[in-house]
Amino acid sequence: MTMLSDRQQLSYIAAQAADARLNVELETEGMTLNIGPQHPATHGTLRIIARLDGEQVVWAEPSCGYMHRGYEKLAEVRTYPQVTTLVNRIDWLGSFANEVPFILAAEQLMEVEAPPRAQWIRTILFELSRIANVSLFLGDLGVQMGAITPVFMAFRDREYVLNLIEGATGGRFHPNFDRIGGLKDDLPAGWVDETRQVMRKLRNFCDEIEDLLFGNEIFQSRMRGIGVIPADVARQYGLSGANLRAAGVDWDLRRDQEIALAYDQVDFKVWTHPDGDCFARCWVRLQETREATKIVDQLLDGLPPGPIMAKVPRIIKVPAGEAWVSTENPLGEMGYYVVSQGDLGPFRVKIRSASFNNISVVPWVLRGVYVPDIITILASLYFILGDIDR
């Protein structure tokens, strides 16, 4: 690893020294602590194997796969419309966002494009699922550090967003709403006005969280300077999303790539933070939630009329070929590599989910930290277990 920050280097040296001391000097046994698979802090069945010297972590490694459901393999025996039901359950907090890149990949192979209105509604739902996802992160952040109140605010306000998603799609958690060539339905009456109100509420929620958590001195001392991931390390480990932007890399697929979503129609800022520590990651996510509410507002203002479905055959057969589409999902870059041989279903699907790559940096960043920092670092890296194990 090149270019370590001073703190990282120091903690690395400390960890090495602790390791040596463990083995030579006292002949004490290092304690190996299994954090997980069942543990209140890990959002699911992730296991972190940590070797400790007292409270300091000498070596740590995440062990995933406890919830592997084999979606890549299952997708091979499903037809294209059926696959969205599976991929809904990858990142279960922002389900709709999982469907979009797969549908886009299939559309790319079929060479159809959804009509403008469908693209706009897709983008709105995409951002709503981002808000639903990240607002829970903002509340959960407190719980990970012992403050129990913020999470209830998060659940309270996330409920409004889920109601919106339910109103539009019929499903709170698993919309299964995106279709090749468009959407299943148009928006219900009154939905747009309600969404505007909810976006105002969500902005209030962001202010509340900023007051309650981010301004708190204890929170800052727990977060600032902890778990620093420099930009080049973040790139080497393939981090994406807010984790990468918090390291100072100005990288956002919503802005950077040409894609059949309405992001080029709206004006939004990509937030970055130079520090790369836990606080930066949380702060970037907070700002992104605010930004997402503004994106939704802008999209609602300019929602074009028209059909919501392009002309596609009733029985969808995708022509042979390969396509790779990735989007900026709530957790980071999520992409599908779809190989088709002209059948009803895909021949092979490779899913690139953000969390799997995001937690690959865990062994690097956990060296030399204290046990409580494991939790804050994992919380700030923000993974969903379904997104790791697929």
Binding site: P40, A147, I148, T149, M153, R222
Partner: protein
């Protein structure tokens, strides 16, 4: 207490009354705190209603919870040190009962009254450390062990600022006797103004803050709940406990919060008394008999006020890291507590 009654109660009767009174004095505050603050206030702060079904407004929820805990199986891990594992919650709860023994509730309404009351209270307050440490050790669980060790380090570190904060009060009152501290506050005067007495919270404000912070740490409540830290250590030293042994830890946690609030109200808020000048009393022997009945009510009110502060902090703050917590104790609390003592001593000599 016998002065209240026309006849003399035999010694065994007095002891029995004291034991019953002690149980009431420990369990009543604990129950009140749990229902009022843990169930209701916390729910309102988190925009929810809390328990509503059991009894009117959920008031019997606690009874249901206790019933649930009592009928659960008492499990001990196979690798645990059985005797010590089973003893630990009792040690923790005993320390609470020992604490309440010196708290005066009225001119004659006290369990015991001796000259080194506050000194004794601070001493037995740390008995619970032993219970927590052995609970962590005997559970044969890595999380419990870490929690127990953290608790030991933390409680010892916060013992000091607590003692130092009390020293200021002791200097001002000129006595370690809890009853004398109450009298000193209620007969005192602020720059010759006697109407309010002299509650030490005004002159010992720094001491009060340090004391309350140290109490929060002693109780292992957020932001000092490192030993429990449910998101890191699952439940720390309590991880392996279930059924009525867990209930004992639970009662001890909130009962100790209540008892420490009682002690704080004796030290800083004037205890059971009202300013003696209101009724023209001169000293402790003049105080009317009905203060024995009014005193406990006054104490309960003050206790609720202080526990409200403690719980407010508990529900809104994230927790410190272990090293930050030690730094806070040694580099911040202890120096200002010492400075407070020096200042108090100088002012005591000057006035």
């Amino acid at each position: 207490m016998s002065a209240l009654l026309a006849f003399e109660i035999p010694y065994w009767g007095q002891s029995l009354l004291r034991v019953l009174g002690g149980i009431v004095a420990v369990l009543l505050p604990a129950g009140t705190i749990v229902y009022l603050f843990l169930f209701k206030m916390m729910s309102f702060m988190q925009s929810r209603l809390g328990p509503m079904e059991a009894g009117p407004y959920g008031s019997l929820q606690l009874v249901a919870e206790v019933g649930k805990w009592l009928q659960k199986e008492d499990i001990a891990p196979a690798a645990a040190d059985q005797r010590i594992f089973k003893m630990a919650p009792i040690i923790v709860l005993v320390s609470t009962f020992l604490l309440v023994a010196v708290v005066p509730f009225g001119p004659q309404a006290y369990f015991t009254d001796f000259s080194a009351g506050i000194f004794y209270a601070l001493a037995v307050g740390s008995v619970s450390v032993i219970g927590i440490l052995v609970a962590g050790w005997a559970s044969a669980n890595k999380y419990s062990l870490l929690g127990g060790l953290r608790a030991a380090g933390q409680l010892i570190a916060y013992e000091l600022p607590m003692v130092l904060a009390v020293v200021g009060v002791v200097i001002q009152a000129g006595s370690m006797n809890m009853q004398q501290i109450v009298v000193a506050q209620n007969t005192g005067a602020i720059f010759g103004f006697e109407w309010l007495g002299n509650p030490f919270v005004l002159s010992q404000f720094v001491g009060f803050l340090v004391f309350m912070i140290a109490v929060q740490a002693e109780l292992t409540q957020p932001p000092f709940d490192m030993p429990i830290a449910e998101s890191e250590l699952v439940s720390g030293y309590m991880t392996e406990y279930s059924g009525f042994r867990f209930l004992m830890f639970f009662i001890a946690e909130f009962a100790t919060a209540g008892v420490f609030a009682l002690i704080a109200s004796v030290l800083f808020l004037g205890g059971w008394g009202v300013p003696f000048i209101w009724f023209g009393w001169e000293s402790l022997s003049d105080v009317a008999w009905w203060m024995n009945l009014a005193g406990p009510a006054i104490m309960l009110t003050k206790m609720l006020l202080l526990t409200f502060l403690m719980m407010w902090v508990r529900f809104s703050y994230p927790r410190f890291r272990e090293d930050q917590l030690q730094t806070f104790a040694w580099k911040f609390l202890i120096p200002i507590a010492l400075a407070n003592i020096i200042l108090t001593a100088i002012l005591k000599v000057v006035f």
